[in-house]
Assembly symmetry: C2
Homo-oligomer: 152 residues x 2
């Protein structure tokens, strides 16, 4: 069980990889971001992107899943107050394989609640060509070991 | 067709409303963010949230859909380089009705490409109690009217 103490500034963790599926790109975008270059193969091919690309929100969601599978589902986590920045640096296309990493940038114990703290991390995803497609800096909240719900 | 010229600093646009569906909260989270408070009714009820809450990424995606339906699908839009901040201020729960607004904060014509410009906007979503649940500041790219693909 990951708790606040397990995050140290500079720690870099590989989050594994995911292959981007065309059907999922289409399904996500039809529901949440039906711009032509996300949902219409022909119009996407004629656009400046030259083919379908994933919604940026879908890319964030795929990286979130990698983080869940690597450590968040085994963490005394209780959500996030927010994100300080997302950069969608390159198009993400069906068939791409994205690999992601998390680097801890800062840790901050709660002043008012001694049982918890916040961790500020950078998430980076690269495609199979080694190009960085996503960079994101987000806060996550964790209980501390001595006070975590697993010990309650 | 919305083009770069149609965005003026200070413009505030209502993006309409969406009701948060429990089945969709579960489906999104099972696929992308399967933390217990997003996917497990019982564990969510026992958590500090007191019940299921939507993944923050799902909330962003729901607001993206409102933006699409209100103006983005009728815009000479070609994506976004990124987001400068997301604040998930309050839990979003099944049954909530979210209403969203977009306010233009800055517009910036491209220096190198005279046919396009960037628009920096704040997106805000409130629940049926008037509480702000999401605040987000994002860049969007648009063609200019004289050079938009609709006129090509």
């Amino acid at each position: 069980m990951w708790t606040y103490e397990d995050f140290q500034v500079g720690d870099r963790l590989a989050l594994g990889s995911v292959q981007v599926q065309e059907e999922e790109v289409l399904a996500f975008a039809r529901r949440y971001d039906p711009q032509p270059f996300h949902v219409d193969r022909q119009r996407a091919a004629a656009s400046q992107f030259g083919g379908l690309i994933a919604s940026g929100w879908h890319t964030c969601a795929m990286v979130m899943r990698l983080a869940c599978d690597t450590y968040l589902l085994d963490a005394a986590s209780f959500g996030s107050p927010g994100v300080e920045g997302i950069e969608w640096l390159k198009p993400v296309r069906p068939g791409d394989t994205l690999s992601a990493w998390r680097t801890v940038l800062e840790t901050r114990p709660s002043r008012s609640k001694p049982d918890r703290g916040a961790v500020f991390s950078e998430f980076e995803a690269r495609n199979q060509h080694g190009e960085t497609v996503l960079r994101m800096r987000a806060w996550s909240l964790f209980y501390r070991r001595a006070a975590g719900p697993a010990q309650a």
